[in-house]
Amino acid sequence: MNSAAKLSYTAMCLGAAVLAASGIGVFALGRPPMTHWVLMAHMAAAPVFAAALAGVAVTWADLCRKGSKPRLGAAAKVLLWIILVCGLVVMLSGVLPMTPLFGTDGQRALYLTHRWAGIVLAAAVLLHLPALRPHADVTRH
């Protein structure tokens, strides 16, 4: 795994951490909707996460296909694809409401999609980290 992959993955994790803390944290603390500095932190972390996710997609996808070398665990592979799919959904459902394409009903649907895809994404990222640990050979390559 090259340094670009490591950098992308690290940036994605950091971005996801900020996004999850600001996004899920607001709801966990019972203070929706997200506003003020929390919203600002969420919006600031979003492009970092998005760019990093694109980097992860490019640098990690081949590692996670079936039969790839170095070998990753099945859980790590599946979780990465989940991260990519959910990340795509989260990105689109986050950015499309900023365009004049969707009315209130669409906006609400996108908002709910963003919320639930975000929760799944956060969980997938959280699980992906330990899923990598038994396969230290990944980092050696």
Binding site: P33, T35, H36, W37, L39, M40, M43, A46, P47, A50, A51, L53, A54, A57, V58, A61, R65, K66, W81, L84, V85, G87, L88, M91, L92, G94, V95, P97, M98, T99, P100, L101, F102, G103, T104, Q107, R108, Y111
Partner: protein, 660 residues
């Protein structure tokens, strides 16, 4: 004739007599057409004693022409024959002084304005915070009427159940008559209601005669000022037994002495506008503004602002239902109707059912708000789409914030209203400095914490401060005690509203002239309290000088002219009027001396956050670009491997199916 036949005839006569007696005794209000078509109101007039008004014949017994003199008509007696006057009297337009009525959302106050003393005091019997109740200022109900009858529709405090003849002010009503609800102000459909005539009549305290004059039924018969007659009266004295009469226009009466009233339940908006006009910008600029989008679509005010017989008109704000009171009178009326329809039902049961029905009907009010109507599609209202608007805005803003009133500018603009400036009555041209100075839109939080547009006025008055308690002086008291600059005749002609601001020196002189040993003289104006400190004039912020504001909802602009229709930067910009517009307190002092606040400050918000958030919108295109670009990359990668996966699957399937 046989005895049996005789007794039969007697029975028939008795039955006929009973029938006639019943018809005579039946109250007319039991008669209804029940049709959606209007009833032809060709009806007799009744005076306040309930007598039919029948002008004397054109020629007297001596063959000489005689005038059609008779008592003025009474709306309570005439309209009340079919429409229960007591029930109507519960209406929002008449019940302000009824302490049993919940005040509801603060609305437009009456503003006691006196240019000579630079007084502008918001008044309301409803006790809205920031207003004074007239009695608290020493203003009697009668004084209130003499000040505001021009736009007061009558009823309520204008038409008390009893007149205290010992009260030197209220006792005058024995001569001037009470101010009954003038139904035609709202319900005439011809546009022929004479507001000027009514105003002239009311200026002379001719309360009893005003409806007849305004309806154009006649003119004053040999007098024009009941107020002067009342001036001659003193408590305890007898009042004239026969009040002056009206000289009726005979052409208004048909052969049966009925009079045709062209009235409508669906009152034209022009009738509402007499009292509810908001003119902004003031002056001869009406051609620059567009009317409310609903009116342009062919609606009238009462399509949304509806009412039943009780005239509790729907004000149309969200949460109004919880501010409503179901009165015992309303329950009685409904129970009476129920018992009429179902005689078997007991009184208690009817009242319980009536209460339940009226409670359920309160829910209907919510369907007549902006969102209630547009969400349900009532009256073919278009469903709001709000493309590109994140739903969080509905939690933070009222509909009116984006859709109502003038588009906000760097400073709120000055607006004239009927109640405050006497619009609807001819007067010298009112200007931007004509008191009271009201500004709009000011964006404040409503009771639900949402941002909404408001009209705002700052009180201005001379007062005495004693033990921390402020007692405003009424204009007459201030004029008597305070040494105020007087206009010379030339100035009065040029500036009839005395708009020249007071200088510090003039304020100091006035305060010095008002000073006494028992209390401190102060002047409230433009958000500040002026007082003398060791002989020196000081101006400081004071809660007593805080502005009074009330929500504005009209004129509604079309969707494409809503705030935000041009994009997020309509509000989220470094110069956004909704956040950074400057609200300058206005009053009878130099504008620069008024208290100045930005909108965010008035709402208690964080300016740093507002500026940072607005600044962040400059990067929004970048954000969109980065995220969409990243999404594209991820999508391509996913599609690539998905297609490869599909290829693997199809290859596997084709391998399996190939012949051995």
């Amino acid at each position: 004739m046989l005895p049996a036949a005789k007794s039969l005839n007697l029975l028939r006569l008795l039955w006929l007599a009973a029938l006639l007696a019943g018809m005579a005794g039946a109250r007319a209000e039991a008669l209804k057409t029940g049709s959606r078509g209007p009833f032809l109101h060709n009806i007799p007039l009744y005076d306040s004693e309930g007598n039919v008004i029948s002008p004397p014949a054109l020629l007297g017994d001596d063959g000489r022409p005689q005038e059609a003199r008779a008592a003025p008509y009474s709306t309570e007696q005439t309209c009340g024959k079919c429409h229960d006057y007591d029930v109507i009297s519960q209406g929002w337009h008449f019940n302000a002084a009824d302490s049993n009525v919940k005040p509801g959302r603060p609305g437009e106050p009456w503003i006691l304005t006196d240019p000579a003393t630079h007084t502008q005091i918001p008044l309301s019997y409803r006790g809205w915070p920031g207003t004074f109740k007239p009695p608290d200022l020493g203003l009697s109900d009668y004084d209130f009427l003499t000040n505001f009858a021009r736009h007061f529709p009558g009823g309520g405090l204008g038409d008390p159940d009893t007149i205290d003849s010992a009260d030197p002010r209220m006792g005058r009503m024995q001569i001037t008559g009470t101010m009954e609800i003038d139904c035609l102000i709202c319900h005439q459909s011809t546009g022929a209601y004479n507001h000027e005539g009514r105003f002239t009549a009311l200026q002379g305290e001719n309360f009893r005669w005003a409806p007849t004059i305004a309806a154009g039924l006649g003119t004053f018969g040999g007098f024009s000022n009941a107020g002067s007659m009342a001036d001659q009266w003193h408590p305890g004295e007898q009042v004239p037994a026969t009040p002056p009469s009206i000289k009726y226009n005979r052409a208004k009466f048909d052969a049966d002495t009925n009079v045709m009233f062209q009235v409508t339940r669906r009152a034209p908006s022009a009738n509402c506008y007499y009292c509810h006009t908001s003119q902004s910008p003031p002056g001869d600029a009406r051609w620059q503004s567009d009317p409310d989008v609903h009116l342009r679509a062919g609606m009238v005010c009462v399509d949304c602002h509806r009412n039943g017989l009780d005239h509790k008109i729907v004000r149309g704000y969200e949460g109004e239902a919880r501010d409503r009171t179901i009165t015992e009178a309303a329950i009685d009326l409904r129970a009476k109707i129920m018992q009429r329809d179902d005689p078997a039902i007991s009184g208690d049961n009817a009242r319980q059912l009536a209460r339940r029905q009226l409670d359920a009907e309160l829910g209907m009010i919510d369907t007549l708000t902006c969102s209630g109507c547009h969400a349900s599609g009532r009256l073919a209202s278009p469903r709001p789409i709000h493309k590109g608007l994140p739903p969080v805005h509905f939690k933070k803003l009222t509909c009116t914030a984006c859709h109502s009133g003038p588009l906000p500018g760097p400073q709120p603009e000055i607006v004239h209203t009927s109640l405050a400036h006497g619009l609807g009555l001819a007067a010298p041209v009112r200007g931007k400095n004509t008191a009271p100075i009201i500004v709009q839109p000011v964006f404040l939080h409503d009771t639900d914490g949402r941002i909404a547009p408001y009209k705002m006025v700052w009180p201005s008055y001379w007062a005495r401060l004693k033990d921390g308690k402020l007692t405003p002086l009424l204009p007459a008291g201030a004029a008597k005690s305070a040494c105020l600059p007087k206009q010379n005749p030339e100035e009065a002609v040029r500036d009839p509203y005395n708009t020249k601001p007071l200088t510090d020196q003039q304020i100091q002189q006035a305060l010095e002239s008002l000073a006494d040993n028992s209390s401190e003289a102060v002047f409230i104006a433009a958000g500040k309290m002026y007082r003398l400190d060791k002989g020196k004039l000081v101006a400081e912020e004071s809660a007593a000088a805080a502005p009074y504001s009330w929500a504005l909802a009209h004129d509604v602009r079309p969707a494409r002219q809503a705030l935000g229709a041009k994009g997020c930067a309509d509000c989220h910009a470094s110069d956004s009027p909704a956040f950074l517009g400057t609200v300058l307190a206005r009053g009878p002092v130099e504008p620069a001396k008024g208290l100045s606040r930005e909108m965010w400050e008035m709402r208690g918000e964080d300016k740093t956050w507002i500026e940072v958030f607005a600044f962040a919108f400059k990067f929004r295109p970048w954000l969109k670009g980065i995220v969409l670009g990243a999404a594209f990359v991820v999508l391509v990668v996913l599609a690539h491997y998905a297609l490869r996966g599909v290829g693997v699957i199809t290859a596997a399937i084709s391998t399996k199916r190939s012949p051995p």
